[in-house]
Symmetry: C2
Subunit: 215 residues, 2 copies
């Protein structure tokens, strides 16, 4: 029974890792949809988001059942509770990627990102993908050092967002208010996506140590 | 022991209800900070957000301890798991209210909301406050009908956000890109605040019925 239970916990960890890896795929599609005005990539992102939703629900249900039937304690309990938190974060990451792709789709075939901001948005896309990849590793290996790195790396996205806002808010922003609105939303979507990877890092540290990292 | 446990569950429910009531206070301060360019209200909102953070952490810890030590099942387990979810939502609602207040503070003493948008933003403030109040009731009474009403009422905020975006994106938006960026962010903060009340409604339905409402 105990053997069986630890197998189920192991499966859950694998499934969470796979789910996180799907968010990496989703944000990658979204950034391509946006920067290459690629309608196919936008639809692919929406499909991955739907897939994430289905899988998340299934894993969530399984975690609840395990808590109810196995009455786990200590690290096993923390892993299940954290798993439930992770699922909420991963689900939200899927939605945020889908929001990015949807902005691209709504304006298709017009490009949404003005030339001079392609660099920053592209960097946000790269950073978000890297954060999702790091979160996938952290979920798989439960490596606290790597989790702390992931948490610290989020400062990069915050800096990029500030840069983006400074440009759209400058007096000589030439692309009009509608474009500023789109860029603001896109910036927030990427930044929030990365914030959720930080939550995953924090939750993994909680599983391992029983405590949350300070700041 | 069982008696004691049910008392602890009851305390947790009261504490969650109080925490939710604080988010109502926070968003109320935030809207006043914004529409009355009231610096004191902005600071009051930040203080309430800090208070929410402290209380949330304490309740979260207590919920985990109860799950670990009491191995609850069925509705008790669902109440604790949902409680942990609720805490995450309430914490985020506090942050979102603080974001609104912070936008007001950063521009003080200049008003952030152009005259013609005061009506929509004011309505979003009223809607957000009403949603927080409804969520407080739902947490207190675990009334599924009321929870469904709360979930449906969120459509109003979504409509207001669409209205806001339509205005800022119109060709004759006269206030420039910087203002459009602020209004976009504010609109999203209010909308996300309300989204979290919907999550609270869904989680309470889960506590009572063991299942999530469809759509």
């Amino acid at each position: 029974m105990r053997q069986h239970f630890s197998g189920q916990l192991e499966n859950m960890r694998t499934d969470l890792t796979d789910l996180c890896s799907l968010t990496e795929t989703a944000i990658d599609h979204a950034t391509r949809a946006l920067l290459d005005t690629d309608l196919g990539a936008s639809e692919a992102c929406a499909d991955v988001d739907t897939e994430i939703g289905y899988r998340a629900q299934e894993i969530d249900h399984r975690a609840l059942t395990l808590i109810a039937l196995q009455a786990p304690v200590a690290q096993d309990l923390r892993a299940l509770i954290s798993g439930i938190h992770n699922i909420a974060d991963l689900r939200r990451m899927g939605s945020l990627a889908a929001h990015v792709a949807e902005v691209a789709r709504l304006h298709f075939p017009a490009p949404v990102v003005p030339g001079e901001l392609r660099g920053v948005i592209s960097e946000m896309g790269v950073a978000a993908k890297a954060q999702a990849a790091a979160a996938t590793e952290v979920l798989r290996d439960r490596d606290c050092e790597r989790a702390l790195e992931l948490i610290r790396a989020d400062a990069r996205t915050d800096a990029l967002l500030r840069e983006l806002f400074a440009v759209t808010k400058s007096d000589d922003w030439p692309y009009g208010a509608a474009s500023a609105v789109n860029i603001t939303l896109l910036g927030r979507f990427y930044e929030r996506f990365c914030d959720h990877t930080v939550e995953i890092g924090r939750n993994v540290i909680f599983v391992v140590t029983g405590d949350f990292p300070v700041a």
